[in-house]
């Protein structure tokens, strides 16, 4: 198990120039345009529009690298399939166009979700989701660090007890029995316990008592 921290902090760009709902709609429009663009000229127009959006949102180097890797993988697979079927001359350009279209269709959504702060996005979701689902979503997100901590403490305790659950041990199929009995089952039992306590705490505070849900004023 590695010590990756969950990307739970707010994105670097705190203020976006458009309301989150409008930005998501704009991104949806750009994605649809990318799907509909069937010539290189139209693809270039959509790419230009998305570049403008990227200049406004400034999603960062990490995002650009991830998008480039996605483009490279897609182009390799799709262009290879087109070249195998139609030959190099007739297959390469359509294959590249299709790869561009797929990347351009996915990029606006990725960009928006990287740029919009979590709090604003959650608030936007509250408008379209039932209150209980929104509560569960917000609570689950809030408990991610705690769940990760629980998982790590169970993992370390079981390693100390001699359980064969380290990444090296799990290369042997026989050790997956230890993985199930020493890590998964205690972790799931812990989840049952935690969810029971949270539900009880919410009921004590009259959650679901009124059909009209109220919220603390946020940022």
């Amino acid at each position: 198990m590695t010590n990756h921290t969950i990307p739970f902090s707010e994105p670097r760009i705190r203020r976006i120039p458009l309301p989150p709902g409008l930005l998501l709609l704009l991104c949806l429009g750009l994605s649809i345009s990318a799907f509909a663009a069937r010539t290189f000229l139209l693809v270039a127009c959509v790419a230009g529009a998305e570049l403008l959006l990227a200049l406004v949102l400034r999603p960062g180097i990490r995002f650009s690298l991830r998008l480039l890797r996605f483009f490279a993988v897609q182009s390799l697979i799709i262009a290879s399939l087109y070249v195998l079927r139609f030959g190099l001359e007739q297959g390469l350009l359509p294959g590249l166009r299709i790869s561009c279209q797929i990347v351009l269709a996915f990029a606006p959504g990725m960009m928006a979700l990287t740029s919009i702060p979590h709090s604003q996005l959650t608030r936007t979701l509250h408008r379209i989701m039932p209150a209980k689902a929104a509560f569960v979503l917000a609570t689950s997100l809030r408990f991610i660090p705690l769940l990760q901590k629980e998982l790590r403490s169970i993992y370390e305790a079981q390693l100390l007890r001699g359980a064969r659950i380290s990444p090296k041990d799990l290369r042997h199929l026989g050790n997956w029995k230890d993985f199930v009995h020493c890590l998964l089952v205690p972790f799931i039992v812990q989840i049952f316990k935690m969810t029971g306590e949270i539900a009880l705490a919410a009921h004590i505070r009259n959650f679901d008592a009124s059909s009209k849900r109220t919220f603390w004023p946020g940022d």
Partner: protein, 178 residues
């Protein structure tokens, strides 16, 4: 999960499903396999969706878990599909719910569990095919591309489902589920 809860989704059940959704993401991040094989995340998706379906007696347990997991992945900026990434979690959940409603004991035995996981993982094929069709890809290439991307997902999904029956039996032995 008591019999009383069968009437509807209680807050405890809903939170458990939400936490199963979180576990999919935590497992993806904690183990973070550097395999670079498409579809390896289906291992955890299938395990936790099947677990949710087995532990919570609700017709849409896996769909709810998948939907929440997809939403959380979007909120955390994970995945490379943007909003379309949601379908990656939602469609397998829908398929598992359909399968689980037809065969209620599918999470307790290996063979039905494997069949459910294979069917649900293969649903990735349709998602990929739909995206390829929307961008106007040739039909023959579309099928090959979607098949390439979904075959490994099926293999990993089936492997993940193998962990479910022993976990379910252990949870029953502990008195967590009836």
């Amino acid at each position: 999960m008591t019999a009383q809860r069968k009437a509807g989704l209680s807050l405890h059940d809903a939170l458990f499903l939400g936490f199963c959704g979180v576990c999919i993401l935590i497992a993806k991040m904690a183990f973070h396999w550097k395999l670079h094989i498409p579809g390896h995340s289906m291992f955890f998706i299938m395990f936790f969706l099947l677990l949710a379906k087995g532990c919570v007696p609700n017709r849409f347990a896996a769909t709810f878990t998948g939907g929440l997991s997809g939403m959380m992945a979007l909120l955390m900026g994970m995945g490379s599909g943007g909003p379309i990434h949601l379908l990656k979690y939602l469609i397998p959940g829908l398929v598992l719910d359909g399968f689980g409603n037809l065969f209620p004991s599918c999470t307790w035995r290996y063979v039905p569990c494997l069949a459910a996981a294979a069917t649900a993982s293969f649903s990735k094929f349709f998602g990929n095919a739909a995206v390829d069709w929307l961008v106007g890809m040739e039909l023959a290439i579309l099928l090959q591309h979607a098949l390439l991307q979904s075959l490994s997902a099926v293999a990993f999904g089936m492997l993940g489902s193998l962990l479910v029956p022993p976990v379910m039996h252990r949870l029953k032995a502990h008195g967590i589920i009836p």
